[in-house]
Subunit: 360 residues, 2 copies
DNA sequence: ACTAAGAATGTAAACGGTTACAGCATGGCT
DNA sequence: AGCCATGCTGTAACCGTTTACATTCTTAGT
């Protein structure tokens, strides 16, 4: 344990120490080619004694593989992404790959610069969520560089870009039907900025067409920023007119839903008695809230795993990649309930009772 | 946009295309040394046209710097770590560094193998949380390799290992005093496994000595695993004997506290009326729970930022590193309250009233 | 005993950059 | 005119691996 660190510790030093050529050391380290038992042991002893470790730069330079995959997501603070990353790192490390990570914080410019540095660093592939997968400079760059990648969370229709996600349109539709089945007739949606989230768009589309298919009036849609979600004015606008106020609110993600519920309670509206709220994502904490959060569960960690496996297959040349839609699940938490419950006196109008018939 | 990708795209190709030497291209790319205006423009045009990007392997091999820092944490699913990572990636990327990430899932063996691969990959430094910073093979290895690192969350007493955290002992003490001030006399702690968390140990120590200093009987301490926290038997044991049941519970982290609250309610115990619960970490979601979670807030993201800044300074050779204790804050959420409130009839005994005097 | 196959090992050329050093103009000084 | 400083550019060594190929040595088959 004395001079373990002193010497330069390259493969050459080990070779010298063990009295063999560098090729032999390389063979021992990589367990490749043929090396006699005795030589192998001697080399291994030198390696251990010197604390030698292969230099990934040298190796990467000659093999042109980094055994690194890049991951780019909007934010690490949202558990939905953290869970996916967790699944990715798990699968990657199983396969001997490391993970490089970057968050865009929903900044468009960050996407392109991140992809650029990841390419410089010779990542073998990339898993990412972009703002808009149909018109993305970042993806263009990735494709230009012939770097394999898999999208995650992104919704890709009519494009051969590969993604792992749930069917957000169907999910939006399911939410509409669920609300309808609970007797709701006036619904609305509060969503994260569509410009930063194609999946929010998909969820809205499913929700809107679902509502239309049910023969109900089109819902009011409100957008809020992802970074500092400013709920108050939205709630103000939604609930100032008692005649048009919704009884059911679909929020494009759980974090938003949680803020919305707080906001509603702050205004004296009870959830779900006055307003039902449904989130999207299925973050773990949702089940511990009161009321427990109704939501559309995406299997986030699993999505990360699948994306990683899929990408790794592709990297290893074991066949191409295909988009995967994982099943989502509606969780009927306590934040939704049947419509037509008692409204606070000041919000009650004769109109309401006309709109709200008992559920089918 | 036709052949942007075809050619081999090394610095040599660019040099050839621009009619200069590779040294000149290198100068242009790195904005180093002197290059005439015209040459620079010509080279830049070649670079743009060919879509050339420096190869980090080649560069790293000659400079022996990777501009990468490694981050190793127990888990990404716990927001407290995700927030810290978020702070780290933010600061790192500001400084032109990338972040490699790995989660140990509280597995001891993963620590050493992660550090080992990070060293192979020539990370410039590392930020990590280990199970036991005083006896850590991983840290020994890091020091043996002369790799700069900063701990985060870890509590390091009498050791020159550098860490960024809060004073967990003082925090534990503060919790004891807080409970005491609320009139609690019988307290207990439920903690994540001490073998995997030195900070849990520190929190316990502060809690225990604090309680002793207040002249109260020593609290019962229970350990649960980090992975599948099995709360039920612990609550069973804590509350089966009405005479010794605590009125205040300190949980070593918020996720645990949240589970504990659920468990208590499942047993028909009201929080905080029957039992007060205090967590630790200050995860964002805590304020949206009902009751809102009382907790010790650590500035997690800030801790990540500070650790990163500190490490980067060291990497750049701008002076050494020092441990930093950031201030914690007690948040008195609704999950704690004054002791002596009404117990459910079946849990009520004459004894209790003896133990519980009104608060000072 | 001779040969061919196969095992064990070594040699040296990549891989794609950085950078010390050298070389060549140019221009301003004495 | 001679000199030096300065600006610009090129040459080539080096960074630490992998790996195709060459070489040497065994060993089994005839």
């Amino acid at each position: 344990m004395t001079d373990k660190k002193r010497s330069k510790n390259t493969i050459r030093d080990v070779a010298l120490d063990a009295g063999v050529s560098i090729a032999t050391v390389s063979r021992v380290v990589n367990k490749l080619g043929t090396v006699s038992k005795e030589t192998e042991e001697r080399v291994q002893r030198s390696i251990d004694r010197m604390g030698f470790r292969l230099n990934a730069f040298g190796r990467g330079l000659s093999t042109a593989r980094s055994y690194t995959i890049g991951v780019m997501i909007p934010s690490l603070s949202n558990p939905v992404f953290a869970d996916a990353v967790s699944g990715i790192t798990q699968e990657a490390s199983k396969a001997g790959y490391n993970v490089m990570i970057a968050a865009t914080d929903y900044q468009h410019a960050a996407e392109i610069s991140t992809v650029s540095t990841f390419l410089e660093r010779q990542i073998d592939g990339m898993i990412l969520t972009v703002a808009d997968p149909m018109h993305s400079d970042a993806l263009d760059m990735l494709e230009g560089a012939q770097a394999p990648y898999a999208l995650i969370y992104n919704q890709v229709s009519k494009s051969d870009r590969v993604t792992v996600t749930v069917d957000n349109v169907a999910a939006g539709d399911a939410v509409a039907r669920c609300f309808h089945a609970q007797g709701h007739r006036v619904m609305a949606m509060i969503s994260g900025s569509f410009a930063e989230s194609d999946r929010a768009i998909a969820r809205r589309d499913g929700f809107v067409t679902g509502i239309a298919a049910l023969g109900l009036p089109a819902p009011v849609i409100h957008e809020v920023g992802f970074v500092n979600l400013d709920i108050e004015p939205v709630l103000q606008s939604l609930f100032e007119n008692q005649d048009t106020a919704p009884t059911a609110l679909f929020c494009s993600n759980d974090l938003l839903a949680i803020s919305v519920i707080s906001g509603l309670e702050r205004r004296g509206l009870r959830v779900p008695d006055d307003v039902s709220v449904m989130g999207f994502d299925g973050i773990a904490i949702g089940t511990h809230l009161h009321p427990t959060l109704a939501t559309v569960i995406q299997p986030s960690k699993r999505m990360g795993e699948v994306a990683a496996q899929c990408l790794l297959c592709r990297i290893k040349g074991e066949g191409g990649m295909q988009s995967t839609l994982l099943p989502f699940t509606l969780r009927l938490g306590e934040s939704t309930g049947r419509a037509c419950k008692q409204l606070p006196a000041d919000l009650q109008t004769p109109h309401k009772s006309v709109h709200r018939r008992p559920a089918q």
